[in-house]
């Protein structure tokens, strides 16, 4: 049981799912289920990276605003210079990876906890998002990109959806599943996964055993920034325009998804399935409350209760089955 971090989250997901099925008639349809999956995927994709990073013993508080930065870089670069959106998307990817690298490099180089380093990046990005957008466009929202070349082909990758019977399936849901599978494979079946667990569980032991700690951790920060870029692209190509102040607060949702999914806050323990279930729990409760027709003002309170419950269930399971 100590080897199954997701067991608590799975039980909770089951209970909450049945609960909403019982109280919310509108929840009982396939359409609703896929809307929940979509909501989960927009959090879940970045949570895959953040969760892996947490297993590797680090935090990233800048991931939420980096999603917005990614979209802003792409849209403003292309709008201002009148170039194809593909160039902007590539530039945005480079930008995100640079931010991820900087986060990782600073953490490893200075030894300052990643919580503080990425809190700094968070504020820098938040301010720069607004400041640069204002400078470039004169407003605090990015310009509409739907008329620029490349919009449709990029939209196909990042924000397409298709109909299956009455159900709209968003591409992000499939991407999310793919990323979860890859992450699960990396964590359980590759050398990199072994290293991630080791640097998060006991970095000094890992270093002594010959694990390249710096490279592993920087790699994790890069993974987070890649996934943040991915969701940033989705947001841009689905909504055409972005508010420069967006994304703030989501960094905690990623962390909550990982923790609810059984990832140990101190690192070294967790898995991809758990993190995915954590994100699904978030999507299910945030929308379930609406489907039930309750006042969504309560959602945050619910989220907090869920977080505490998940953490306590995990603690309990770990004690009982030790």
């Amino acid at each position: 049981m100590t080897r199954r971090p997701e067991i608590g989250a799975l039980a909770a997901a089951g209970v909450i799912f049945v609960f909403f099925l019982a109280v919310a008639p509108a929840f009982r349809s396939l359409e609703s289920f896929f809307t929940v999956l979509y909501q989960s995927s927009t959090i879940g994709i970045v949570a895959v990276g953040v969760g892996m990073l947490m297993i590797g013993g680090e935090f990233d508080l800048s991931a939420g605003v980096l999603v917005t930065s990614a979209g802003l870089v792409n849209s403003m670069f292309c709008w201002y210079l009148g170039v194809d959106l593909w160039a902007g998307a590539a530039l945005s990817l480079l930008f995100c990876l640079a931010v991820g690298f900087l986060n990782g490099w600073l953490v490893m180089r200075t030894g300052i906890p990643s919580f503080l380093i990425t809190l700094g990046t968070f504020f820098i990005l938040q301010g720069a998002n607004l400041g640069v957008t204002k400078l470039v466009t004169g407003a605090v929202a990015s310009p509409d990109v739907s008329a620029i070349d490349g919009f449709h082909s990029l939209g196909l990758i990042f924000s397409s959806s298709f109909e299956v019977g009455p159900v709209t399936v968003w591409g992000t849901v499939l991407w999310w599943i793919l990323f979860v599978l890859i992450s699960g494979w990396i964590l359980q079946r590759t050398r990199g996964g072994n290293w991630i667990h080791a640097v998060g569980g006991a970095a000094d032991s890992a270093r002594a055993a010959g694990v390249p700690v710096v490279r592993t951790k920087i790699g994790l920060f890069l993974a987070v920034s890649f996934l943040a870029w991915f969701v940033g692209m989705h947001n841009l190509y689905r909504f055409n325009t972005l508010q420069a102040g967006g994304g703030v607060g989501n960094e905690f949702l990623y962390i909550i998804a990982a923790v609810v999914g059984g990832t140990l806050l101190t690192g070294g323990f967790g898995n991809a399935t758990g993190i995915a279930i954590g994100a699904f729990l978030f999507g299910m409760t945030s929308l379930g409350i609406v489907y039930a027709g309750w006042d969504p003002n309560w959602f945050r309170a619910f989220l907090g209760v869920m977080l505490l419950a998940a953490v306590m269930v995990n603690l309990y399971l770990r004690r009982v089955f030790r």
Binding site: A26, V36, G127, A141, N235, Q243, G245, G293
Partner: protein
């Protein structure tokens, strides 16, 4: 925070340059007024950007210096007003969204003989606090006129989307809508995340298929509502470039504009007139800058202004 630091830096630079130019600072101080412009803006809202543009234009037109500062947190906004008093500015324009929290600072300003003008929020309380004039719309009145208009087009069960938790002004708008259409229901969404807004709306519209109108309280939220893809019609408070385009192509029925540009512009010029000439606008009553309706019939005249970021 960053903005405030920046603003302080810019203000310092201006002061330094003012000193170095003539060699003497005093004549500069005597010819141009300095006005502090304090709001509860959350950085990154398109709406406030337009308010600022108005204030900036006014500052140029009447040759005063405007110092902007903002903080969504009520206690910190109070400190900003106090700072303006300490800096001995000639006039203060401020939003009064949380009158009780700001009362102390505003009274300190009036006690120091600095005229205060309210804008955007606080229509019921501005006079109690000692503010001279008020420029803004009455949120409840605006809500009611939206409610009346959608009721006329047959709405029975509209959804009023609140994108910021615990905002008095937004709640008042929805209350206004409800006073005209009793079937109105409120929905809370996370305004900082477009995808979350869309899927929450989708969920709500699936849960209750009798919803026939979606009223959003901010322009970006209206765009998310379009993405939610339902048969319900959409109306929104406030304008921006994209919503204006959507009104033009019929995706949004109408927007109700409280003319934020005029709020910023009038707040600054009224202070100027008061300082220069002792004028008092509004005849002891609040000056309403809205509601003004923008729909297909007048969008073509308004669109150029929207593109210039002044509406």
């Amino acid at each position: 925070m960053r903005r405030r630091v920046l603003a302080a830096g810019v203000a310092t630079l201006l002061l330094i340059s003012a000193c170095s130019e003539g060699g003497r600072a005093e004549p500069q101080q005597a010819t141009g007024y300095t006005i502090a412009f304090v709001t509860h803006e959350t950085p990154g809202d398109t709406f406030w950007n337009i308010v600022r543009s108005g204030a900036q234009q006014a500052a140029e037109d009447v040759d005063v210096q405007v110092r902007f500062s903002n903080d969504p947190d009520a206690t910190r906004q109070a400190v900003l007003i106090q700072q303006a008093v300490d800096a001995k500015v000639q006039g203060i324009a401020t939003t009064l969204v949380t009158p009780d929290a700001l009362a102390g600072s505003v009274r300190a300003a009036t006690a120091a003989g600095i005229p205060v003008v309210g804008l955007n929020a606080g229509i019921e309380r501005y006079r109690d606090l000692g503010a001279l004039m008020y420029f803004g719309s009455d949120e409840t009145v605006a809500g009611t006129s939206v409610g009346e208009r959608i009721a006329a087009s047959g709405a029975k069960h509209p959804l009023c989307v609140i994108h910021q938790a615990g905002s008095v002004a937004l709640e008042a708008r929805c209350a206004g809508v409800k006073s005209a259409v009793p079937g109105t229901e409120n929905l809370q969404v996370n305004g900082a995340d477009d995808a979350a807004v869309t899927s929450t709306l989708q969920a709500k519209l699936a849960q209750d298929r009798t919803i026939d109108y979606v009223v959003t309280l901010g322009a970006p939220i209206a765009l998310d509502a379009i993405q939610a893809g339902s048969t319900a019609k959409i109306a929104t408070f406030d304008l921006n470039k994209e919503t204006a385009d959507r009104i033009k192509d019929g995706k949004i029925e109408f927007a109700i504009d409280q003319q934020p540009y005029a709020q910023g512009y009038m707040a600054v010029t009224s202070l100027y007139l008061y300082l220069k000439n002792g004028n008092d606008l509004g005849g002891g009553k609040a000056v309403l800058t809205g509601p003004s309706f923008v729909d297909k019939s007048n969008i073509d005249t308004i669109l150029p202004y929207v593109e210039k970021n002044t509406r």
